[in-house]
Point group: C3
Chain length 253, copies 3
């Protein structure tokens, strides 16, 4: 990270660098995409350098894209920037930058963050255009990002775990609009079932609405349906990992 | 953290943001209070945003306070800012900011750092007053912060573990003045006892005064009595956690 | 870290602070030296504050040095800055700063990063000279940094593990020039042996050249010979730690 900051600062000394996170789990494009999407509305406009790169050194494309909002994303072509870019009006221009004249040489095979993405991002921040930093290409050919959709069968909502944070809080693949289409509503009680275990969980506003070490369903700060244990770990309680299936059934009151 | 930085930078682009730490253990108000108190003398004056928030979403108050020194603290009303504020002349003005007109809307129930504390801190940095950002209240109603006091019985000093760092170094609840009132002095040897184990430990100036893997008592860089093992872990040696009792008895030489 | 930043900012408000890393393992001077050497070419010129300090509080020297390139390193005299300084033309001037008039007082026995190194670095950044901040001394008396050399016996190259990163990627003590002198070349297959286990590993350009969970030998982004497992851990595969011996024997094709 220090080397990337150094590269950017040398090329564009006036750039203001803001680190969103360095805590995305290795190779987890989905966690990266959700984190980027959720942080973007709170960030100043600019050039967004975002690298989760399981295929570094393979023939995956290196790209920079411009949104309708005239902001940029730079990174490997994994689809990771798409949910965030959608919130900025979508991608209107894209370039392949693997052979950018602005990449550092020699270009390592394993650290494109330093050798390709940082210098290109810095040159965009300094005012260069996409056609300056690479070869324009049709945005339609970029890798698409997809989230699994929840499904409703009878009264059971089948969901997937999107992310597990370090506290064991779980984000499910149900956003606020998706929630409106299900039978779940605030202050109801829900049977939450996962492989081998289940429990009854109240759907509340926040942690303080349940006792210590009690589970809760809530809409989190990113407007997603989430499962947690007040001062505990929902991941531990139900033995959940990323991609685990979680079944939700509203209980009659 | 990235979202908080983004919120601050958008409101007050000229703000210089300095991260003290993001390593406070979850919900550990005492560790936060001690870290803040110990860092403050070394920091430039300004607005100090400090959030350890076990009761987020409950009816705990959100506050901003001004010190005699005209610096500000912003965060949940947990008492965490008090030891630091005391070093800046104490709190002279306070405001409740849970309904601040500057909070972000919609305001999430679980991420007040982003939605309430960051925007209020940024507006204070930009020159707003406490009455601009919230409703003034009597500082006397704020939650008080208290540290346990050590007690001396015969020649045994009963202390508590305040913090354990990642190296297993232990800080006890005895400051330099407290130490002067006890029978402990530099270059004496001390019997250190905890639940189920005890050992003889020299009271020295620094790690290098004892051999590798040997224990030491010393006054740490924050002027607190501390227990460590040179290139090892005092927490492991005596099986100590936060709040463990540690008994110290000076040995006759 | 926050306190160090604060000290620097108070002394030299115009200083631009760039954090290279805070992830060097405790007391690991070699990892620090390699990280510093590898990052330096990508950083803006300036004052480099680098502290890994196993002997803090002992009589190890505190130093600041100036390179032929007019950049500075500040830290304990452990040799850690030497590989990086060599890349900047080598050390041309040195000063002992343990009693610098610019150190903070009282000076703690255990936190010289805050009390000695940060203020001296800030004063150098603000334009002071080495003779201003300490007592000049002959650079020849400084602690020397040495890396173990690989040895070749018959067709077996005996190497050592220099570093293990959090992914289990292994850096060996063979640089690109050293490699040219051995029998190893790209696209050959190599028998890699460590205590108790061995396997056949292809020497390739990058991770994507082997299958998932397959091992690879490659020249890393710092031009060092490295051993990894694509989406896995080479450290786990061969049970390797820092300083483990690794024997490499090219296989006939």
């Amino acid at each position: 990270v220090g080397a990337c900051h150094g590269v950017i600062t040398r090329i564009c000394p006036s750039a203001q660098i803001l680190d969103v996170t360095h805590g995305i789990p290795r190779h987890d494009i989905r966690a990266g995409a959700l984190t980027l999407r959720d942080a973007l509305p709170y960030l100043p406009g600019g050039v967004h350098l975002a690298v989760v790169d399981p295929e570094v050194g393979c023939d995956r494309r290196a790209i920079a894209v411009r949104t309708a909002d005239d902001q940029f994303f730079v990174g490997p072509d994994t689809g990771m920037h798409q949910p965030a870019a959608a919130g900025l009006g979508g991608v209107v221009e894209a370039a392949s930058i693997g052979n950018s004249e602005y990449r550092l040489k020699p270009t390592s095979a394993t650290f494109h963050g330093r050798d390709i993405f940082s210098p290109v991002a810095a040159h965009l921040a300094a005012g260069k255009s996409l056609s300056d930093v690479g070869d324009l290409l049709d945005p339609a050919v970029l890798v698409q990002f997809e989230l699994p959709s929840p499904t409703l069968e009878d009264d059971v909502l089948f969901t997937k775990v999107l992310t597990v944070d370090r506290f064991g809080n779980i984000v499910l693949n149900v956003d606020r609009e998706g929630l409106a289409e299900t039978g779940l509503s605030l202050d109801t009680s829900v049977e939450v079932a996962a492989d081998g275990s289940s429990c009854e969980v109240p759907f509340v506003s926040t942690f303080g609405d349940v006792g210590v070490e009690q589970p809760l369903l809530y809409v989190d700060a990113q407007q997603m349906l989430a499962l947690a244990v007040n001062r505990g770990s929902a991941a531990d309680l139900l033995n959940l990992n990323v991609d685990s299936e979680v079944r939700l059934r509203p209980l009659l009151s």
